[in-house]
């Protein structure tokens, strides 16, 4: 359906192409207001809850709301076929665009076919799709691993023992980040000895396995963790493990620790995949429906904050919950939510 055109995209700062050879799409212009759906998979973790709340908040912004006739969210759980069916249902019900956080990057080929036939714009984000036929909006997961790897190489000029706390086995996000870290450490030519454990992107699990690793294989000279970072730091504190350089995600709790213990050696880089990318995905979908040129694959900037730049009230919030992901704004796209305003919104409403 979409025409493949040459760039640049409509808002080049926001809709940055993934790479030099990324295709650009121009969909036939449709008249608004549009019906847009968000097909989420799993819902019961903070990241996803924050994401759904951000999506709602974004769709409710006056200028966005004016373009929308309907915005519907469905979460289908862990089961891929349920999500595929939900998208099929949206297609059959005549939605104009569908935004999806895919439970599986490779499983949606049949759906993509069907969406294409029906002229529906499909935009994937966070867990994107392995395809050239739908729009992807994502941070560079492997690049995230590279970033963490570089951080460790920089702080451990002589190499050393590294603890890598991984995510959920069998997911592409985990694999990409892991590969990024390993290729970087290897390429440095220094002697790194890596102990891997699976933290499942969960603070409790990450804390437990980190504690075990510290007790048996520690002490470590550097640590990297994807998700569960707050728990990993907690494990270090409990074990009285010396603070060492750390590459991790953007949980508020983790950044609190980074700011607090920077002087004692907890030198952090914190970067990740903010839940607000859902807003970018919706924005992309609208742009595509309006007939604007958009890249097939949008690369989001990593919201990186590194030691010693952690500022309270901006990069982290000392009075707030540990659990939300701070990196929640994409200024180049005009998306400037703070996490607390998202997670606290109903409270204020009451």
């Amino acid at each position: 359906e979409p025409e493949v055109v040459s760039g640049p995209a409509a808002e080049p700062d926001c809709f940055a192409p993934w790479s030099a050879d990324t295709k650009f799409f121009k969909f036939p212009k449709k008249d608004g207001p549009y019906r847009i759906a968000l097909a989420n998979g799993y819902i019961a973790n903070t990241w996803r809850i924050q994401m759904v709340q951000t999506a709602k908040a974004y769709a409710a912004q006056p200028d966005v709301a004016a373009k929308l006739k309907e915005f519907k969210v469905v979460s289908t759980g862990e089961d891929v076929p349920a999500q595929i069916s939900a998208i099929n249902n949206f297609i059959d019900s005549g939605y104009d665009a569908i935004v999806v956080n895919a439970q599986n990057p490779t499983a949606f080929a049949p759906v993509i076919k069907r969406a294409k036939e029906a002229g529906v714009v499909l935009v994937a984000f966070d867990n994107t799709l392995d395809t050239q036929d739908a729009i992807n909006v994502n941070v560079d997961q492997k690049g995230l691993g590279v970033l963490w790897g570089d951080w460790l190489v920089k702080h451990l000029p002589n190499g050393g023992k590294v603890l890598e706390v991984r995510g959920v086995a069998g997911t592409s996000v985990d694999t990409d980040r892991h590969n990024g870290i390993h290729e970087t450490l290897q390429a440095s030519g220094k002697d790194f000895k890596v102990t891997e454990v699976m933290g499942k992107w969960d603070d409790g699990v990450a804390q437990k396995v980190a504690a075990d690793a510290i007790a048996t294989n520690g002490p470590f000279d550097g640590i990297t963790a994807q998700g569960g970072d707050t728990g990993v730091v907690q494990a270090m504190i409990d074990a009285k493990h010396p603070f060492v350089p750390f590459g991790g995600e953007t949980e508020n709790g983790f950044r609190k620790f980074c700011a607090k213990f920077s002087g004692e050696g907890l030198k952090c880089t914190s970067a990740g995949t903010g839940p607000a990318q859902v807003a970018v995905a919706i924005k992309t979908a609208i742009a595509a429906l309006e007939g604007n040129v958009v890249p097939q694959s949008v690369k989001l900037p990593l919201a990186i904050v590194s030691d010693p730049d952690f500022k309270d009230g901006q990069d982290y919030f000392s009075g707030e919950s540990d659990n939300f992901f701070v990196g929640n704004s994409f200024p180049t796209c005009g998306i400037n939510f703070t996490a607390q305003e998202i997670m606290g919104q109903s409270k204020e409403n009451q």
């Binding site: 903070t46 437990k208 707050t230 409990d238 659990n323 109903s346």
Partner: protein, 323 residues
Amino acid sequence: MVPVTANALPQFIRKADPAVLTAFGCIILLLVIGGIYSRSFLSPEYLLQQLKVASFLGVIATGMMLVVLLGQIDLSVPWTVTAGAMMACAVAAYGPVGVALAIPFGIFCGALIGAINGIGVAYLRIPSMIVTLATNAVAQGIMVIYTGGFSPQDSATDAMRYLATGTILGIPNAAIIWLILGVATVFVLGRTSFGRSVYGIGNRERAAYLSGINTRRIVMIAFAASGALSAFGGVLLAGYASKAAQSMGDAYLLPAIAAVVLGGTSILGGRGSYMGTVAGVILITLLQSILSVMQMPEAGRQITYGLLIILMLLLYGRSPAIR
């Protein structure tokens, strides 16, 4: 008339279930194997760390054992744990009273979920496997709404932290709590009419009912207790991690069941001892921990974990032959 030969053995060995003894044997074997891999598996720090972590599972498995003894099961553990943790932290936002009430309130919420399970199983006679599955989904739903809509406080109180991570004379407080709970459980199961009724109902509820036991109340209490203990486990976990988080209970359901059964409790109810559950909890915790730090790909870890459990069960967990 006890045969004379048996009298020669000391009472506690004679009475001990061979399954429990073998389970403890397996623990020692596991440590030896771990020790061969790396000396640090035998270090006091590592062992105390395991004991601490085992205590969380131990508290949860205590509740699971109660319902398993009744011939039931509690699949609502994941979100009962989470709800207990999240509610305890949430209530702490309400001033000093809130802080003081955090732990009891968290436990209370778990007891409430457990009570709903109990009503379903005891009064509505719905199979426990399915009511508890449903209440788990309901608890999850409530927690999602709550987190998304109310921005609850989720950091643990100092008291929770102290219980979970503090030590007395080098012994983790969590382990002391588990010990106290364990002694209480042994007493309740062995010496109270509630405990006897639990075993009786597990064996044959109809006969227990006709003996004049209010079996429905006992079942209800056991489920409420299981919910409360799961939530208490959640409170401790929140103390351990300093905070409550979504899905923090996911990792506890299957290990809790496995620990209870590895400890020789019959999944059909009516048979099992608490010492067995203790052994099962330690076994599972050690196994998970040792596998986690041995540098083996996740696939290999899962396969080894599964095979070792089967192996241990074949060693001592077999049901009697029909003839």
